[in-house]
């Protein structure tokens, strides 16, 4: 059964202009899917419309067979769809612990808070040592860790990761993805990952979609996509 279905979604920031022009995709349970595409293709916008930040103009978004496109963002979070946004994702003026605690909005998350916080601290020990500092004082990579940690605290049933490698050194990216891999294995959640670094994304995910200008241009398994001429030429650049 598909955990998430996006059917023919149109969305945009301006009433007159569409950024997503009829996007359809589906994610099965326990699946890891990558979205790739150039800057401005609409990947983030897609994730935002799944999370309800951007209201869609037409089409449907179904989560476990239920329509969620008319819900408020916080209600969607309550359903278990949790996103790590491409920018921000952490609250500068809160301490790390507050950042983590504030992310428990689902009932189950509240119950499992102790347990989750241990998981987070286990995967990102640096957060534990700095837990009473303001998030302002974190480096870019640590912030991403915190953002991911916040998502874990929410007990996700579907994790949306938007460009979490952005602004991070390759080494950090590698570490982060290693961690993520372990995490997703441990947590057993489906993930949609948006990534600029195509190789990493396709390595991480089983399947992928390629977006161009608000449309899904290509889809297929990671291996297939990596072989495609177009992907090679445009996104990998070789």
């Amino acid at each position: 059964m598909n955990i998430l279905e996006v059917k023919n979604v149109r969305a945009g920031y301006d009433p007159e202009v569409d950024v997503l022009c009829g996007v359809s995709l589906e994610i099965a349970d326990m699946e890891c899917v990558a979205m790739i595409g150039a800057n401005g293709a609409g990947k983030s916008s897609l994730l935002k419309s799944i999370s309800g930040i951007v209201k869609i103009k037409s089409g449907e978004i179904l989560f476990r067979g239920e329509r969620i496109d008319n819900l408020q963002p916080h209600q969607i979070v309550e359903k278990g769809i949790i996103q790590v946004p491409e920018e921000g994702g952490t609250f500068d003026t809160l301490t790390i612990e507050e950042n983590l605690n504030i992310s428990c909005h689902r009932k189950i998350a509240k119950e499992k808070r102790k347990e989750n916080i241990e998981t987070v601290y286990h995967f990102f020990p640096i957060l534990k040592t700095k837990r009473n500092d303001l998030a302002k004082s974190l480096s870019g990579g640590q912030r991403k860790m915190l953002a991911v940690g916040k998502a874990i605290m929410g007990c996700p049933e579907l994790l949306l990761l938007d460009d979490i490698s952005m602004g991070l050194a390759p080494k950090v990216v590698e570490e982060l993805y290693d961690m993520l891999k372990k995490l997703t294995n441990q947590l057993n959640v489906p993930v949609i990952i948006v990534e600029q670094i195509v190789e990493i994304a396709l390595d991480f995910a089983e399947r992928g979609y390629v977006m161009t200008q608000g449309n899904i241009a290509l889809k297929g398994s990671s291996q297939e996509l990596l072989q495609t001429e177009e992907v090679k030429k445009i996104y990998i650049g070789m």
Partner: protein
């Protein structure tokens, strides 16, 4: 010039300043934290004062007692004003005219509140003649009305209360989160609109306190709401947006400027002096005395 009069003026200035500080705190919460411009807290304050007056005159309830009802009531009023009237403008960017829209809407509401007050109570000044109204506390030759002392205490209580809410409660943490980053907050599962509405409700409640103390030291008429609004705003701007302590100091400073201008110079120019001071501040430090950046 003897020092007693001077010190007495300072005390008076601090007393009136405490009311501006309270209003400033109300604005600092919604504007400083969530960038919601309100033009109507002064009028909410006066409305609360009128309700206190009504309670005192018809039922004999002490206005400080009626705060017990008014504070939650105005919390609800503020909450729904935000939900009904302000929500549509919350996702506008500042350059898209967010402030303009908010100013205009709240101003329209303020005008309506004022008009309704006129209809019910007319423009005649009203006074809440509580027994302790003119009671003063004395320290050698200096005197301070107990109401002023109470309003100063209220400032402190509100300040610490706000700090407590902001630092310790889930609501406060969510509020700070919302002021940090709206989108992230939503993605974290925080109900942004609700938090905004709560903040607006809280700030309306603070306005109630300000209004009640205003009525206990002054007479009230519907049109003073606008003055109070502006004094509160000046406090926020002088204090530096968002800095609660700064706003309090600025509020007291406004009271002092008014008082000392009257004492040393031409009383009719006290507003002029205040705003000239503000203009100078804008040149020297546009972000306010305690503002960052």
């Amino acid at each position: 010039m003897g020092s007693t009069g001077f010190l007495q003026s300072i005390l008076g200035g601090i007393g009136t300043g405490s009311i501006y500080a309270l209003l400033g705190l109300a604005f600092a919460l919604v504007f400083g934290k969530l960038r919601i411009c309100s033009y109507m807290h002064g009028d909410l304050a006066i409305l609360a004062a009128y309700l206190g007056f009504l309670g005192f005159n018809s039922l004999g309830i002490d206005p400080l007692m009626s705060l017990i009802i008014l504070i939650p009531a105005f919390f609800v009023i503020g909450y729904f004003i935000q939900v009904i009237f302000m929500k549509p403008f919350m996702d506008m960017e500042i350059w898209q005219g967010r402030y303009q829209a908010q100013v205009m809407v709240t101003w329209g509401i303020a005008m309506s509140i004022m008009a309704v007050e006129f209809m019910i109570w007319s423009g005649t000044y009203r006074m809440i003649a509580v027994p302790y109204r003119n009671t003063v506390a004395e320290l050698s030759s200096l005197k301070m009305p107990v109401v002023h002392i109470m309003s100063l205490v209220a400032v402190v209580v509100v300040y610490f209360g706000l700090n407590l809410i902001l630092k310790k409660t889930d609501l406060g943490i969510s509020l700070r989160a919302c002021s940090d980053d709206r989108v992230t907050a939503m993605l974290t599962g925080i109900n942004y609109q609700k938090i905004c509405a709560m903040a607006f409700g809280i700030s309306s409640s603070i306005a109630v306190i300000a209004g009640t103390f205003f009525a206990l030291t002054n007479q009230i008429t519907p049109s003073v709401g606008l003055d109070l609004t502006f004094k509160g705003w000046v406090a926020v701007i002088i204090g530096g947006m968002g800095s609660l302590g700064g706003v309090i100091i600025a509020g007291l400073l406004i009271g002092l400027v008014e008082s000392l201008t009257s004492f040393f110079w031409i009383p009719a120019l006290k507003n002029a002096v205040l705003f000239i001071g503000l203009l100078i501040l804008l040149v020297v430090k546009p972000s306010g005395l305690f503002g960052k950046k």
